[in-house]
Protein backbone atom coordinates (compact mmCIF):
# COMPACT_ATOMS: atom_id res chain seq x y z
CA UNK A 1 0.00 0.00 0.00
CA UNK A 2 1.51 3.32 -1.01
CA UNK A 3 1.95 6.28 1.34
CA UNK A 4 -0.13 9.17 0.05
CA UNK A 5 2.79 11.53 0.26
CA UNK A 6 0.96 14.72 -0.54
CA UNK A 7 -1.60 14.08 2.19
CA UNK A 8 1.09 14.52 4.83
CA UNK A 9 1.02 17.90 6.60
CA UNK A 10 3.32 20.39 4.84
CA UNK A 11 5.92 20.36 7.60
CA UNK A 12 6.12 16.56 7.52
CA UNK A 13 6.55 16.61 3.73
CA UNK A 14 9.40 19.09 4.08
CA UNK A 15 10.98 17.03 6.83
CA UNK A 16 10.90 13.84 4.75
CA UNK A 17 12.37 15.55 1.70
CA UNK A 18 15.04 17.24 3.80
CA UNK A 19 16.10 13.83 5.06
CA UNK A 20 16.39 12.23 1.63
CA UNK A 21 19.83 11.90 0.09
CA UNK A 22 20.46 13.85 -3.09
CA UNK A 23 20.00 10.86 -5.44
CA UNK A 24 16.64 9.92 -3.92
CA UNK A 25 15.47 13.52 -3.83
CA UNK A 26 16.34 13.82 -7.50
CA UNK A 27 14.34 10.68 -8.34
CA UNK A 28 11.41 12.01 -6.32
CA UNK A 29 11.57 15.38 -8.09
CA UNK A 30 11.24 13.57 -11.42
CA UNK A 31 7.91 11.95 -10.51
CA UNK A 32 5.80 15.03 -11.32
CA UNK A 33 5.89 18.79 -11.71
CA UNK A 34 4.45 19.14 -8.24
CA UNK A 35 7.11 16.85 -6.78
CA UNK A 36 9.78 18.93 -8.45
CA UNK A 37 8.31 22.06 -6.96
CA UNK A 38 8.14 20.41 -3.52
CA UNK A 39 11.77 19.30 -3.82
CA UNK A 40 13.25 22.69 -4.62
CA UNK A 41 13.67 23.92 -1.06
CA UNK A 42 15.24 20.69 0.19
CA UNK A 43 17.54 20.45 -2.82
CA UNK A 44 18.99 23.85 -2.02
CA UNK A 45 20.06 22.52 1.37
CA UNK A 46 22.41 20.01 -0.25
CA UNK A 47 25.91 21.40 -0.35
CA UNK A 48 28.86 19.37 -1.47
CA UNK A 49 30.97 18.14 -4.29
CA UNK A 50 30.96 15.05 -6.43
CA UNK A 51 34.39 13.95 -7.47
CA UNK A 52 34.89 11.56 -10.33
CA UNK A 53 38.07 9.64 -10.66
CA UNK A 54 38.97 7.61 -13.70
CA UNK A 55 41.54 4.93 -13.21
CA UNK A 56 42.63 1.55 -14.36
CA UNK A 57 42.72 -1.53 -12.15
CA UNK A 58 45.20 -4.24 -12.95
CA UNK A 59 44.39 -7.84 -12.13
CA UNK A 60 46.80 -10.50 -13.27
CA UNK A 61 47.64 -9.36 -16.79
CA UNK A 62 44.28 -7.73 -17.43
CA UNK A 63 43.43 -4.07 -17.05
CA UNK A 64 39.96 -2.80 -16.16
CA UNK A 65 38.99 0.82 -16.49
CA UNK A 66 36.85 2.11 -13.64
CA UNK A 67 35.15 5.31 -12.67
CA UNK A 68 34.99 6.09 -8.98
CA UNK A 69 32.40 8.58 -7.80
CA UNK A 70 32.86 10.16 -4.41
CA UNK A 71 30.30 12.55 -3.02
CA UNK A 72 31.33 14.67 -0.09
CA UNK A 73 28.51 16.59 1.54
CA UNK A 74 29.04 19.58 3.78
CA UNK A 75 25.36 19.79 4.68
CA UNK A 76 24.14 16.25 5.29
CA UNK A 77 25.52 13.33 7.19
CA UNK A 78 27.82 11.48 4.85
CA UNK A 79 26.98 8.00 6.12
CA UNK A 80 23.77 8.24 4.15
CA UNK A 81 25.54 8.04 0.82
CA UNK A 82 27.95 5.54 -0.59
CA UNK A 83 31.18 7.47 -0.11
CA UNK A 84 32.78 5.67 -3.00
CA UNK A 85 30.93 4.17 -5.88
CA UNK A 86 32.65 2.22 -8.65
CA UNK A 87 30.99 2.20 -12.05
CA UNK A 88 31.69 -0.58 -14.52
CA UNK A 89 32.78 0.07 -18.08
CA UNK A 90 30.41 -1.65 -20.49
CA UNK A 91 29.61 -1.06 -24.16
CA UNK A 92 32.01 1.89 -24.44
CA UNK A 93 30.56 3.73 -21.48
CA UNK A 94 30.27 3.60 -17.72
CA UNK A 95 27.05 2.10 -16.46
CA UNK A 96 24.60 4.47 -14.75
CA UNK A 97 26.98 7.40 -15.09
CA UNK A 98 24.24 9.56 -16.57
CA UNK A 99 22.02 8.90 -13.56
CA UNK A 100 24.61 10.12 -11.09
CA UNK A 101 25.70 13.02 -13.21
CA UNK A 102 22.15 14.16 -13.85
CA UNK A 103 21.67 14.57 -10.09
CA UNK A 104 24.57 16.96 -9.79
CA UNK A 105 23.78 18.61 -13.09
CA UNK A 106 20.13 19.22 -12.15
CA UNK A 107 19.18 22.84 -11.68
CA UNK A 108 17.58 21.78 -8.39
CA UNK A 109 20.92 21.29 -6.67
CA UNK A 110 22.26 24.79 -6.98
CA UNK A 111 24.74 24.36 -4.15
CA UNK A 112 26.32 21.16 -5.42
CA UNK A 113 29.42 21.12 -7.53
CA UNK A 114 31.07 18.43 -9.52
CA UNK A 115 34.71 17.96 -10.26
CA UNK A 116 36.84 15.33 -11.83
CA UNK A 117 40.16 13.82 -11.11
CA UNK A 118 41.51 11.83 -13.97
CA UNK A 119 44.39 9.45 -13.39
CA UNK A 120 44.90 7.60 -16.55
CA UNK A 121 47.42 5.07 -17.75
CA UNK A 122 46.70 2.74 -20.71
CA UNK A 123 44.26 1.50 -22.05
CA UNK A 124 44.16 4.91 -23.58
CA UNK A 125 41.26 4.61 -26.00
CA UNK A 126 38.88 3.87 -23.12
CA UNK A 127 40.13 6.94 -21.34
CA UNK A 128 39.55 9.05 -24.43
CA UNK A 129 36.02 7.81 -24.85
CA UNK A 130 35.28 8.69 -21.24
CA UNK A 131 37.13 11.97 -21.36
CA UNK A 132 35.34 13.10 -24.50
CA UNK A 133 32.00 12.15 -23.01
CA UNK A 134 32.64 13.95 -19.72
CA UNK A 135 34.21 17.00 -21.35
CA UNK A 136 31.15 17.38 -23.58
CA UNK A 137 28.93 17.49 -20.49
CA UNK A 138 30.87 20.56 -19.40
CA UNK A 139 31.77 19.58 -15.84
CA UNK A 140 34.75 21.18 -14.15
CA UNK A 141 37.81 18.99 -14.48
CA UNK A 142 39.94 19.61 -11.42
CA UNK A 143 42.99 17.49 -11.81
CA UNK A 144 43.96 15.35 -14.74
CA UNK A 145 47.01 13.15 -14.76
CA UNK A 146 47.43 11.41 -18.06
CA UNK A 147 50.12 8.85 -18.81
CA UNK A 148 50.70 6.98 -22.00
CA UNK A 149 53.31 5.18 -24.05
CA UNK A 150 54.94 7.36 -26.77
CA UNK A 151 52.09 8.58 -28.96
CA UNK A 152 52.00 11.89 -30.85
CA UNK A 153 48.27 11.82 -31.48
CA UNK A 154 47.55 11.06 -27.85
CA UNK A 155 49.47 14.18 -26.80
CA UNK A 156 47.43 16.48 -29.03
CA UNK A 157 44.14 14.72 -28.32
CA UNK A 158 44.66 14.87 -24.55
CA UNK A 159 45.59 18.54 -24.52
CA UNK A 160 42.66 19.52 -26.71
CA UNK A 161 40.06 17.47 -24.81
CA UNK A 162 41.35 18.68 -21.46
CA UNK A 163 41.92 22.27 -22.46
CA UNK A 164 39.60 23.46 -19.68
CA UNK A 165 40.96 21.17 -16.96
CA UNK A 166 42.16 23.12 -13.96
CA UNK A 167 45.39 21.18 -13.47
CA UNK A 168 46.76 19.00 -16.23
CA UNK A 169 49.79 16.75 -15.92
CA UNK A 170 50.77 15.05 -19.14
CA UNK A 171 53.29 12.26 -19.13
CA UNK A 172 53.44 11.07 -22.71
CA UNK A 173 56.53 11.16 -24.88
CA UNK A 174 56.43 11.88 -28.59
CA UNK A 175 57.69 9.13 -30.89
CA UNK A 176 61.37 9.20 -31.75
CA UNK A 177 60.71 10.32 -35.33
CA UNK A 178 58.11 12.96 -34.44
CA UNK A 179 60.00 15.79 -36.17
CA UNK A 180 59.70 14.08 -39.55
CA UNK A 181 56.48 12.17 -39.11
CA UNK A 182 54.05 14.35 -37.20
CA UNK A 183 52.67 17.86 -37.48
CA UNK A 184 52.41 19.21 -33.93
CA UNK A 185 50.92 22.57 -35.00
CA UNK A 186 47.88 22.08 -37.22
CA UNK A 187 45.84 19.86 -34.85
CA UNK A 188 45.85 22.58 -32.17
CA UNK A 189 42.71 24.49 -33.02
CA UNK A 190 42.50 26.70 -29.94
CA UNK A 191 44.19 27.86 -26.76
CA UNK A 192 44.38 25.77 -23.61
CA UNK A 193 42.88 27.33 -20.49
CA UNK A 194 44.53 25.28 -17.76
CA UNK A 195 45.48 26.92 -14.51
CA UNK A 196 48.44 24.58 -14.21
CA UNK A 197 49.96 22.76 -17.13
CA UNK A 198 52.81 20.38 -16.55
CA UNK A 199 54.28 18.45 -19.45
CA UNK A 200 56.87 15.89 -18.47
CA UNK A 201 58.27 15.30 -21.93
CA UNK A 202 58.26 18.60 -23.84
CA UNK A 203 60.65 17.88 -26.69
CA UNK A 204 57.91 18.65 -29.17
CA UNK A 205 56.93 22.00 -27.61
CA UNK A 206 58.13 25.11 -29.45
CA UNK A 207 57.79 28.88 -28.97
CA UNK A 208 54.81 28.69 -31.31
CA UNK A 209 52.97 26.47 -28.82
CA UNK A 210 53.74 28.72 -25.85
CA UNK A 211 52.61 31.82 -27.76
CA UNK A 212 49.58 30.43 -29.56
CA UNK A 213 48.36 27.40 -27.61
CA UNK A 214 49.46 27.89 -23.98
CA UNK A 215 49.00 31.67 -23.80
CA UNK A 216 45.77 31.38 -21.76
CA UNK A 217 47.31 29.08 -19.14
CA UNK A 218 48.54 30.48 -15.81
CA UNK A 219 51.37 28.19 -14.75
CA UNK A 220 53.35 26.19 -17.25
CA UNK A 221 56.15 23.78 -16.47
CA UNK A 222 57.85 22.14 -19.41
CA UNK A 223 60.21 19.39 -18.37
CA UNK A 224 62.63 17.88 -20.83
CA UNK A 225 62.29 20.84 -23.20
CA UNK A 226 64.73 22.05 -25.83
CA UNK A 227 64.19 25.68 -26.78
CA UNK A 228 66.57 27.94 -28.66
CA UNK A 229 67.48 31.19 -26.92
CA UNK A 230 65.90 33.12 -29.79
CA UNK A 231 62.64 31.27 -29.07
CA UNK A 232 62.75 32.36 -25.42
CA UNK A 233 63.15 36.01 -26.50
CA UNK A 234 60.27 35.55 -28.93
CA UNK A 235 58.08 34.16 -26.13
CA UNK A 236 58.90 37.13 -23.88
CA UNK A 237 58.20 39.68 -26.62
CA UNK A 238 54.87 38.05 -27.27
CA UNK A 239 54.09 37.85 -23.53
CA UNK A 240 54.71 41.60 -23.18
CA UNK A 241 51.96 42.33 -25.71
CA UNK A 242 49.41 40.08 -24.00
CA UNK A 243 49.28 36.69 -22.28
CA UNK A 244 47.80 35.06 -19.17
CA UNK A 245 50.99 33.21 -18.29
CA UNK A 246 52.16 33.99 -14.74
CA UNK A 247 54.69 31.19 -14.42
CA UNK A 248 56.77 29.50 -17.05
CA UNK A 249 59.65 27.12 -16.60
CA UNK A 250 61.56 25.55 -19.45
CA UNK A 251 65.06 24.69 -20.57
CA UNK A 252 66.88 26.32 -23.47
CA UNK A 253 70.22 26.18 -25.20
CA UNK A 254 72.01 29.49 -24.65
CA UNK A 255 73.41 31.28 -27.70
CA UNK A 256 76.16 33.01 -25.70
CA UNK A 257 77.14 34.05 -22.20
CA UNK A 258 74.84 35.15 -19.38
CA UNK A 259 75.88 38.74 -20.14
CA UNK A 260 74.73 38.28 -23.73
CA UNK A 261 71.37 37.06 -22.45
CA UNK A 262 71.22 40.09 -20.11
CA UNK A 263 71.84 42.41 -23.06
CA UNK A 264 68.89 40.86 -24.88
CA UNK A 265 66.75 41.38 -21.81
CA UNK A 266 67.63 45.07 -21.80
CA UNK A 267 66.64 45.24 -25.47
CA UNK A 268 63.12 44.14 -24.60
CA UNK A 269 62.98 46.63 -21.68
CA UNK A 270 63.41 44.02 -18.93
CA UNK A 271 65.04 45.82 -16.00
CA UNK A 272 67.84 43.97 -14.16
CA UNK A 273 67.00 43.37 -10.48
CA UNK A 274 68.54 41.36 -7.65
CA UNK A 275 66.36 38.41 -6.59
CA UNK A 276 66.56 36.76 -3.21
CA UNK A 277 67.12 33.06 -3.84
CA UNK A 278 67.11 31.95 -0.22
CA UNK A 279 64.36 33.31 1.99
CA UNK A 280 65.70 31.80 5.21
CA UNK A 281 65.33 34.55 7.84
CA UNK A 282 68.37 33.14 9.71
CA UNK A 283 70.62 34.12 6.85
CA UNK A 284 71.18 37.90 7.25
CA UNK A 285 72.06 38.54 3.65
CA UNK A 286 70.37 36.01 1.41
CA UNK A 287 72.10 34.86 -1.74
CA UNK A 288 70.97 36.65 -4.86
CA UNK A 289 70.94 35.96 -8.57
CA UNK A 290 70.64 38.26 -11.53
CA UNK A 291 67.11 38.54 -12.71
CA UNK A 292 65.09 40.84 -14.87
CA UNK A 293 61.74 42.46 -14.29
CA UNK A 294 59.46 42.58 -17.30
CA UNK A 295 56.20 44.49 -17.39
CA UNK A 296 53.34 43.68 -19.68
CA UNK A 297 52.16 46.48 -21.95
CA UNK A 298 48.77 47.98 -21.04
CA UNK A 299 48.58 46.07 -17.73
CA UNK A 300 50.33 46.29 -14.37
CA UNK A 301 51.45 42.68 -14.50
CA UNK A 302 55.13 42.22 -13.82
CA UNK A 303 57.14 39.02 -13.95
CA UNK A 304 60.60 38.19 -12.79
CA UNK A 305 62.78 36.38 -15.28
CA UNK A 306 65.77 34.38 -14.16
CA UNK A 307 68.13 31.84 -15.66
CA UNK A 308 70.31 29.24 -14.00
CA UNK A 309 72.61 26.54 -15.18
CA UNK A 310 71.81 23.01 -14.07
CA UNK A 311 74.70 21.21 -12.40
CA UNK A 312 74.41 18.09 -14.51
CA UNK A 313 74.08 19.74 -17.91
CA UNK A 314 76.38 22.54 -19.00
CA UNK A 315 74.77 22.91 -22.42
CA UNK A 316 71.30 23.88 -21.20
CA UNK A 317 69.94 26.69 -19.05
CA UNK A 318 66.80 26.72 -16.97
CA UNK A 319 64.55 29.66 -17.67
CA UNK A 320 61.97 30.74 -15.08
CA UNK A 321 59.38 33.43 -15.41
CA UNK A 322 57.26 34.01 -12.32
CA UNK A 323 54.91 36.55 -10.88
CA UNK A 324 55.54 36.08 -7.14
CA UNK A 325 58.97 37.51 -6.47
CA UNK A 326 61.11 38.34 -3.51
CA UNK A 327 63.29 41.29 -4.48
CA UNK A 328 66.04 42.48 -2.19
CA UNK A 329 66.16 45.89 -0.62
CA UNK A 330 69.22 47.81 -1.78
CA UNK A 331 70.73 47.70 1.75
CA UNK A 332 70.77 43.91 1.66
CA UNK A 333 72.56 43.53 -1.63
CA UNK A 334 76.00 42.07 -0.95
CA UNK A 335 78.81 44.20 -2.29
Amino acid sequence: MPVAFTRFPDLVKKEILDLMNCYDLFSFSETSKRSRSLSQRSAKLHKGNMEMMFGVLTEASLRFPYLKLTYSSTSHSTHELPTSLYLKFKDSKFEHLEKYLSVCHSSLFVNMTISMVFYCAPPFETAFLTLEHLAQLGYAMEECDIQSAPDNEAIVRTLMILKKAKNLYLNCEPTEDFKDSFDFKTPFTGSLENEKLLILSSKWVSAWHVINVFNMCCEITLFDSYFEESEVIKILKSWRIGSSIKYLRLAFVPAGSNEDFGAKMLEINAKPVPEAVNEDPNIPIPPVRSSWLLQQENTNVQVLISIEQPQHNREKMFFTMKKETKLLLEDNIPV
Binding site: M1, E15, I16, D24
Partner: protein, 177 residues
Protein backbone atom coordinates in the same frame (compact mmCIF):
# COMPACT_ATOMS: atom_id res chain seq x y z
CA UNK B 1 13.69 -12.37 25.01
CA UNK B 2 14.33 -8.99 26.53
CA UNK B 3 13.91 -6.04 24.16
CA UNK B 4 17.17 -4.66 22.83
CA UNK B 5 18.40 -1.39 24.16
CA UNK B 6 18.52 1.63 21.86
CA UNK B 7 21.52 1.94 19.59
CA UNK B 8 24.65 3.42 21.09
CA UNK B 9 24.73 5.88 18.20
CA UNK B 10 21.83 7.83 19.62
CA UNK B 11 23.04 10.46 22.09
CA UNK B 12 21.91 9.66 25.60
CA UNK B 13 20.82 12.20 28.20
CA UNK B 14 23.84 13.37 30.12
CA UNK B 15 22.20 13.02 33.53
CA UNK B 16 19.63 10.26 33.92
CA UNK B 17 16.45 11.48 35.55
CA UNK B 18 15.62 9.95 38.94
CA UNK B 19 12.75 7.52 38.51
CA UNK B 20 9.56 8.90 40.08
CA UNK B 21 6.45 6.81 40.84
CA UNK B 22 4.38 6.42 37.69
CA UNK B 23 1.34 8.70 37.41
CA UNK B 24 -1.14 6.95 35.17
CA UNK B 25 -3.92 8.75 33.31
CA UNK B 26 -6.56 7.68 30.83
CA UNK B 27 -6.33 8.82 27.22
CA UNK B 28 -9.33 8.69 24.90
CA UNK B 29 -9.00 8.46 21.13
CA UNK B 30 -11.26 10.14 18.57
CA UNK B 31 -13.17 6.88 18.08
CA UNK B 32 -13.78 6.39 21.79
CA UNK B 33 -11.04 3.94 22.72
CA UNK B 34 -9.71 4.49 26.21
CA UNK B 35 -6.08 3.70 26.89
CA UNK B 36 -3.84 4.20 29.90
CA UNK B 37 -0.50 6.00 29.89
CA UNK B 38 2.23 7.24 32.17
CA UNK B 39 2.20 11.05 32.34
CA UNK B 40 5.98 11.11 31.74
CA UNK B 41 5.36 9.39 28.40
CA UNK B 42 2.62 11.86 27.51
CA UNK B 43 4.93 14.80 28.25
CA UNK B 44 6.87 13.91 25.05
CA UNK B 45 3.90 15.42 23.23
CA UNK B 46 4.10 19.20 23.46
CA UNK B 47 0.38 19.40 22.81
CA UNK B 48 -0.56 16.99 25.64
CA UNK B 49 2.12 18.48 27.92
CA UNK B 50 0.40 21.87 27.63
CA UNK B 51 -2.94 20.33 28.52
CA UNK B 52 -1.50 18.43 31.50
CA UNK B 53 0.24 21.60 32.68
CA UNK B 54 -3.09 23.43 32.50
CA UNK B 55 -4.68 20.86 34.77
CA UNK B 56 -1.73 20.93 37.17
CA UNK B 57 -1.63 24.73 37.29
CA UNK B 58 -5.29 24.82 38.20
CA UNK B 59 -4.86 21.92 40.61
CA UNK B 60 -7.60 20.05 38.83
CA UNK B 61 -7.53 16.24 38.93
CA UNK B 62 -6.51 14.80 35.57
CA UNK B 63 -8.66 11.77 34.97
CA UNK B 64 -8.93 11.56 31.21
CA UNK B 65 -7.21 13.25 28.28
CA UNK B 66 -9.15 13.44 25.03
CA UNK B 67 -7.20 13.17 21.79
CA UNK B 68 -9.73 14.15 19.17
CA UNK B 69 -7.70 13.76 15.99
CA UNK B 70 -6.13 10.34 16.48
CA UNK B 71 -7.97 7.01 16.22
CA UNK B 72 -7.54 4.26 18.81
CA UNK B 73 -5.23 1.96 16.80
CA UNK B 74 -2.82 4.81 16.00
CA UNK B 75 -3.01 6.26 19.51
CA UNK B 76 -1.98 2.88 20.88
CA UNK B 77 1.12 2.99 18.67
CA UNK B 78 1.86 6.56 19.74
CA UNK B 79 1.61 5.63 23.43
CA UNK B 80 3.77 2.55 22.91
CA UNK B 81 6.47 4.73 21.37
CA UNK B 82 6.15 7.38 24.10
CA UNK B 83 6.35 4.75 26.86
CA UNK B 84 9.61 3.50 25.38
CA UNK B 85 11.04 7.03 25.22
CA UNK B 86 9.64 8.56 28.41
CA UNK B 87 13.12 8.91 29.89
CA UNK B 88 14.49 10.75 26.83
CA UNK B 89 15.55 14.35 26.94
CA UNK B 90 13.36 16.22 24.40
CA UNK B 91 16.28 18.58 23.71
CA UNK B 92 18.12 15.70 22.00
CA UNK B 93 15.31 15.13 19.53
CA UNK B 94 15.19 18.84 18.76
CA UNK B 95 18.96 18.96 18.24
CA UNK B 96 18.76 15.97 15.86
CA UNK B 97 16.00 17.66 13.93
CA UNK B 98 17.96 20.89 13.59
CA UNK B 99 21.09 19.12 12.44
CA UNK B 100 19.28 16.85 9.97
CA UNK B 101 21.42 14.11 11.40
CA UNK B 102 19.02 11.47 12.52
CA UNK B 103 20.05 7.97 13.55
CA UNK B 104 17.17 5.63 14.17
CA UNK B 105 17.90 3.41 17.19
CA UNK B 106 17.34 -0.30 16.61
CA UNK B 107 14.18 -0.55 18.73
CA UNK B 108 12.58 2.33 16.82
CA UNK B 109 13.75 0.97 13.48
CA UNK B 110 12.10 -2.34 14.22
CA UNK B 111 8.97 -0.64 15.59
CA UNK B 112 8.52 1.63 12.56
CA UNK B 113 9.57 -0.60 9.71
CA UNK B 114 7.25 -3.44 10.75
CA UNK B 115 4.28 -1.12 10.23
CA UNK B 116 2.42 -1.19 6.92
CA UNK B 117 2.89 2.08 5.04
CA UNK B 118 -0.67 3.19 5.77
CA UNK B 119 -0.20 2.80 9.53
CA UNK B 120 3.15 4.55 9.36
CA UNK B 121 1.46 7.43 7.57
CA UNK B 122 -1.20 7.65 10.32
CA UNK B 123 1.44 7.44 13.05
CA UNK B 124 3.55 10.26 11.59
CA UNK B 125 0.47 12.42 11.09
CA UNK B 126 -0.60 11.74 14.70
CA UNK B 127 2.92 12.59 15.91
CA UNK B 128 2.66 15.83 13.97
CA UNK B 129 -0.73 16.74 15.52
CA UNK B 130 0.52 15.85 19.00
CA UNK B 131 3.87 17.56 18.35
CA UNK B 132 6.17 14.68 19.31
CA UNK B 133 9.49 15.73 17.80
CA UNK B 134 11.34 12.45 18.29
CA UNK B 135 8.59 10.37 16.69
CA UNK B 136 8.28 12.82 13.79
CA UNK B 137 12.05 12.60 13.26
CA UNK B 138 12.15 8.80 13.22
CA UNK B 139 8.95 8.48 11.22
CA UNK B 140 10.12 10.92 8.55
CA UNK B 141 13.51 9.27 8.43
CA UNK B 142 11.85 5.88 7.99
CA UNK B 143 9.84 7.19 5.06
CA UNK B 144 12.96 8.81 3.57
CA UNK B 145 14.81 5.50 4.01
CA UNK B 146 12.01 3.58 2.33
CA UNK B 147 12.66 5.71 -0.77
CA UNK B 148 16.37 4.94 -0.74
CA UNK B 149 17.76 3.75 -4.06
CA UNK B 150 14.34 3.77 -5.73
CA UNK B 151 13.87 4.82 -9.32
CA UNK B 152 11.37 7.47 -10.37
CA UNK B 153 8.87 4.74 -11.26
CA UNK B 154 9.29 3.03 -7.91
CA UNK B 155 8.91 6.39 -6.14
CA UNK B 156 5.60 6.95 -7.92
CA UNK B 157 4.39 3.60 -6.70
CA UNK B 158 5.63 4.14 -3.13
CA UNK B 159 4.14 7.61 -2.74
CA UNK B 160 0.96 7.05 -4.74
CA UNK B 161 1.88 9.56 -7.43
CA UNK B 162 0.06 8.96 -10.72
CA UNK B 163 1.85 8.78 -14.08
CA UNK B 164 2.29 12.17 -15.79
CA UNK B 165 -0.48 11.50 -18.31
CA UNK B 166 -2.89 10.84 -15.44
CA UNK B 167 -2.11 14.15 -13.79
CA UNK B 168 -4.14 17.33 -14.42
CA UNK B 169 -2.57 19.51 -17.09
CA UNK B 170 -3.64 22.92 -15.75
CA UNK B 171 -1.14 24.82 -13.66
CA UNK B 172 -3.50 25.33 -10.71
CA UNK B 173 -4.97 21.84 -10.42
CA UNK B 174 -2.84 19.08 -8.96
CA UNK B 175 -3.26 15.36 -9.01
CA UNK B 176 -3.94 15.30 -5.33
CA UNK B 177 -6.50 18.07 -5.09
Amino acid sequence: MAPKKNSAKRPQPSTPKPSAPARIVKVQSSDGHILQADVRALLLSSTLAATIKGYDDENKPLEKLEVNNVVGFTLKLVLEWCEKHKEDDPAIAQAEKDKKNIFIPSWDRHFLTKLPMGNLFDLITAAYHLDITGLINYGCKTVANSAKGKSTEEMRELFGIPEPWEQPSTSTATWDD
